[in-house]
Subunit: 225 residues, 2 copies
DNA sequence: GGTCACCAAATTGTCAACAATATGGTTAGC
DNA sequence: GCTAACCATATTGTTGACAATTTGGTGACC
């Protein structure tokens, strides 16, 4: 009843918050693939109880983000190139259909906003602001999905993307990749503005598949062949 | 070292097995949407410890199959028609791309096997064996995805389907729906045999969307409008 | 010097007891 | 008869202690 009692009714953050925190750490490349997540460490840093931390681990394991081994605990799952390739194939299908839906459903303001983001990205290319470019790119893609009001697909794509965030983070938007992405975006935008859903879908698919191809070449460059 | 020691080294089934069991119960329509899953009950029926049961709950909640409320435990999540509609949209995109891939990649034996299943389904239509029809239908769809070696997409589609299994179970394959599905399958198969990936994709999409339309009409019939 | 068995520390798995909350029925009051 | 407060029961949330296993290092032996 007192202020104090109201101030500390909870002993710690719920499992979902802990899971969100771990997810954000992975996205920010603080937890890298293969890294072991020690329970005590997470407890110290989140303030959650051991029980809740383990609940969070389970959730993230079900999402495919963590791997749990008997008596060895949780570690950030490493996606093989083969798996990443499959993830991108799924993304191409899902984002493609969203691009088509966007073309049909979006209002003029929506389209204008999309064009604005694309414009900002082009200025990033000129100034070489790779990080900002990546951020805007995320906005661009998620806007297309948000407008079509398909939360399920938006959620799926977001989950599909997480395992490769550590790759996108550092070395993805370097060199020609920004130029290529900009070209792709322009093609998509043109199809949308022309009101051609099928063309928009095809362009979006090609865009995602180009991303995969770039990732593949990057992988070869990093790990040899 | 003795036979006895080998016979009972484990105190109970692991969390993944419990999760699988619950999933199968939901798929078999034994656990229906909205039903509460009491921990003690699951413990009694699976032989797992309370701890493991709760781990299983967390995993299934992350999959979207269960809903966990504070102090009220887990219950089978109820998918709204709006959500089901979105799930089908995603399925249409994913299975569509798989159909196209199948057309490109499948061996002659694969295609022959697909044709055989379709043939069996047609005999089911004649004899009105709805349950068998549904089972074969599952095989048909999963075969298309398995051949393309895209486990990620196969897994996604399987998860997308689970929330509506209770609908498919009872009243889905009645009346004209089997005929319609058979027509769709024939169109898909024709495109595949003709080696036309784009046509196969379109036909598959139409098939999934027909399924959604049927579900929608069924929903209207059941719950009024 | 190298290899293997063994030991101690760290880490995770499991369980049982207790606290907190929801649920359903009962009773008092109108 | 009806509503609302109340209470017993059922159910879930939380914690702590202990068991099982891995891990990294140490020393004996070849």
């Amino acid at each position: 009843m007192t202020e104090i009692a109201d101030a500390l009714p909870k002993s710690g953050p719920p499992a979902t918050e802990i899971a969100d925190w771990i997810r954000s750490q992975i996205r920010a490349n603080r937890f890298v693939p293969g890294q072991r997540l020690v329970e005590v460490d997470i407890i110290r840093r989140t303030g959650g109880s051991r029980f809740k931390v383990r609940e969070a681990f389970q959730r993230l394991a079900a999402e495919g983000l963590l791997e749990i081994e008997e008596f060895r605990g949780a570690s950030v799952r490493e996606a093989s190139l083969a798996e990443v390739s499959q993830l991108y194939r799924a993304r191409a299908a899902l984002e493609g259909i969203c691009a088509a839906d966007f073309t049909r459903l979006a209002s003029d303001e929506d389209k204008e906003r999309l064009r604005e983001i694309a414009e900002k990205m082009e200025t990033c290319v000129e100034s070489g602001a790779a990080e900002q470019f990546g951020k805007l790119n995320g906005e661009w893609h998620s806007m297309i999905m948000r407008v079509t009001r398909n939360d399920v697909i938006a959620d799926l794509v977001s989950r599909l993307n997480t395992p490769v965030h550590h790759l996108l983070f550092e070395s993805f938007y370097r060199g020609d990749r920004m130029n290529e992405a900009t070209r792709d975006h322009r093609a998509i935008l043109d199809a949308i503005l022309a009101g051609d859903p099928e063309a928009a879908e095809k362009a979006m698919r090609r865009h995602v598949e180009n991303g995969l191809q770039f990732l593949t070449s990057l992988d070869r460059a990093l790990f040899g062949d």
